[in-house]
């Protein structure tokens, strides 16, 4: 690694109350007297802070998640109100409606408009960063923009020959989906919001000539003329075509990314997959995620399994394959410091696929690699690069 000029300030754009920042600050204590400045998303979005003035020469800049904060969410949505959308996804909430918005936990709230608003602020940040000399940007805004759109991310991985599931494209409604699936004789797909995160608005859908059913943590709540969708912590099985169509149609208005449902490997009476964090392109932390449903996300009350046992079981040769696919996926974003990737394994650990790349996928509490948590590993990595 080539030596990097000494950086004298660590600037984080994030939500200060979020535990991600707490973990980060704790990890930064490993560095001898670092100077840390937190730029809150809300201040950046409202123009209370000028990033241009916060970042000097030779800063390290980290961009962290804007999530889990309703005020920030609303501000980003406001930011997206007049943004043009090349994907033409129609769902929109107006400025007036946003001003009157009552925060509801778990509500799937116009993710496409959110993305447009987020992209707008990312572009602004990018312009400022490009004009600075000698800074080290750990999460290039242009990469975040791609990572936050599953369609773009999948396309980029495909271009780079990363093993990813096949997709079903140009689906704007439930009827279109069913027709395309029948035509292609595809029976099972995962329908995901193109701009959602971690199991938000994900539907595992299967059909044949006789039946259809969908598994999802999405909850449908009729509200006057409209149906609202909420992310819950429980997986439901929908078997009524009317309900399934309603959910899928609402998701389509936000833009969907649809993939073939690749069967997952089993482990101790559960389905399983892997979440692996790469730092500077190398796989470090790993979690074996177990689930009794098609969704393995940890926050859905799913469990973790014993990764070492899994590695013993699949053998080192197969495990090398897993690590290689992680390295390849990370190399698609060579300037991105840490990526959280979801790796799919088929039954018997025969094949591996990259299911998802997460821009802020390093929140893995209690998962250690060489005695360090994900934040400590990232800081240690920077120290090894003589960044401080």
């Amino acid at each position: 690694m080539s030596s990097i000029p000494f950086h004298n300030l660590f600037v984080v754009i994030g939500n200060p109350e979020n535990r991600r920042i707490q973990f980060l600050l704790k990890a930064l204590k490993m560095v001898h007297s670092p100077r840390v400045k937190i730029v809150p998303w809300i201040d950046l979005l409202k123009g209370r802070v000028h990033l241009d003035r916060e970042i000097g020469k030779n800063c390290i800049v980290r961009i962290d998640s804007p999530g889990e904060n309703p005020l920030v969410e609303r501000q980003i949505l406001l930011n997206g109100v007049d943004e043009p959308d090349e994907s033409d996804n129609p769902a929109r909430i107006s400025k007036k409606q946003l001003c009157n918005l009552v925060f509801e936990k778990g509500r799937i709230l116009f993710p496409r408009q959110w993305y447009l608003g987020f992209r707008k602020v990312l572009n602004k940040i990018n312009r400022i960063l490009l004009a600075k000399q000698g800074i080290k940007v750990l999460q290039p805004p242009k990469d975040i923009e791609i990572l936050f759109d599953k369609r773009l991310c999948h396309a980029k991985c495909s271009e780079n020959r990363i093993s990813v599931p096949k997709i079903v494209t140009k689906v704007n409604s439930f009827d279109e989906l069913v027709e395309k699936l029948r035509h292609a004789k595809t029976r099972r797909v995962f329908i995901k919001l193109a701009n959602g995160s971690s199991a938000s608005g994900v539907v595992a859908f299967e059909m044949n000539q006789h039946r259809m059913q969908a598994f999802s943590s999405v909850e449908r709540i009729p509200n006057g003329r409209e149906t609202r969708l909420y992310n819950s912590l429980k997986i439901r099985c929908y078997r009524s075509i009317r309900e399934i169509a309603d959910i899928v149609n609402i998701l389509c208005k936000e833009g969907v990314h649809i993939e073939h449902w690749i069967p997952k490997s089993g482990w101790n009476g559960h389905r399983c997959d892997l979440r692996i964090v790469t730092v500077s392109g190398l796989p470090c932390h790993g979690v074996l995620r177990l689930s009794k449903s098609p969704m393995t996300n940890l926050h859905l009350g799913n469990k973790r399994g014993n990764l070492n046992e899994l590695i013993s079981c699949m053998g080192l040769s197969k495990w090398s394959e897993v690590k290689n696919i992680c390295r390849s996926a990370a190399s698609v974003f060579p300037d991105y410091h840490a990526i959280g990737m979801d790796i799919l394994m088929t039954p018997g650990f025969q094949s591996f696929f990259v299911a998802e790349l997460n821009a802020f996928g390093d929140l893995l509490p209690e998962v250690m690699f060489k005695g360090l948590n994900t934040y400590e590993t990232q800081i240690q990595d920077l120290m090894n690069q003589n960044a401080f």
């Binding site: 004789k185 595809t186 029976r187 099972r188 299967e206 044949n208 000539q209 006789h210 039946r211 059913q213 099985c237 690749i262 069967p263 997952k264 490997s265 089993g266 482990w267 009476g269 559960h270 389905r271 399983c272 009794k292 098609p294 088929t346 039954p347 018997g348 025969q350």
Partner: protein
Amino acid sequence: MTIDEHAKVFADKPIVDYNPMAGIEDPLKYCYKIGFGYDAWDAQEPLTNVIAKFLNDKCVIDIEAIVIGSWEEMGSMEISSAPIVEALVAAKERLPKLNGIFIGDVVSEECEISWIMQSDMSPLLLAFPNLEHFRVRGNEGLSLGTLNHTGLKSLVIETGGLSSQVVTQVAAAKLPNLEHLEIWLGTDEYGGDSTIKDLEPLFSDGLFPKLHYLGLRDSEYVDEIAIEIAKAPILKKIKVLDLSLGTLTDKGGKALINCPELSGLEKLDLHYHYLSDEMIDQFRQLGINVDIDDKQDADEDDDYRYPAVTE
């Protein structure tokens, strides 16, 4: 719980995937699995073509056990196991040593258990009188016909809902050498329309004289089963009682706890249940070999309990 892993062992042999390129390499050591795996939807030919290659292998004559995995268009519910049954029956002369058949080693991630299309198995059982192990997964379209078989030692039927028709066929069967009977009753929602009355013949000790293991698993009326079986003569005869994977509550638990015949069992399997902690302690203190793991919490919202395998 769903079925998430393929079987590793069947008829006392480790299972390996049949690879048509490599052929049958060790028919005495292994049980071969013929199936398309997770890309069954992409299959370019019917599984019966692969089975035909298998049956033309010079080593097939020594084959003792076969497992059938996903066949083409698994999950479409358009193609049943009938062509496969027909292929095996037609080749019975080439399988003189066959003593084990398992049709449907399909995991939930490949196909929902209730979407597996089975068929009438009676021609298969008729064609192979020396068959000792028969295992089948999936209720849809399944029939065992009039079940009279002298060879059968082990019969396992795994479903998310087993039809009363099949339960009745089992309860009326003549299986003089049967040692292991395991049926997954499932829920009504997925075709499990049997009732305790259908099971009654199984509780007498005359039905299967050599029965050692009785498994009435994955049942939504296991409480009733426990109550009836606690007073049944069969309990004096068998050595292993398996009521796991169902919705067993303290109601059924009490009947079992108070049953004196329990001490004669080598094992009582109750894993995956809805018993209270107090009841669990009582079972542990009984001094018998009992599996009481995997306690389930009833759904907080609506107090609904469900067996382990349904979809």
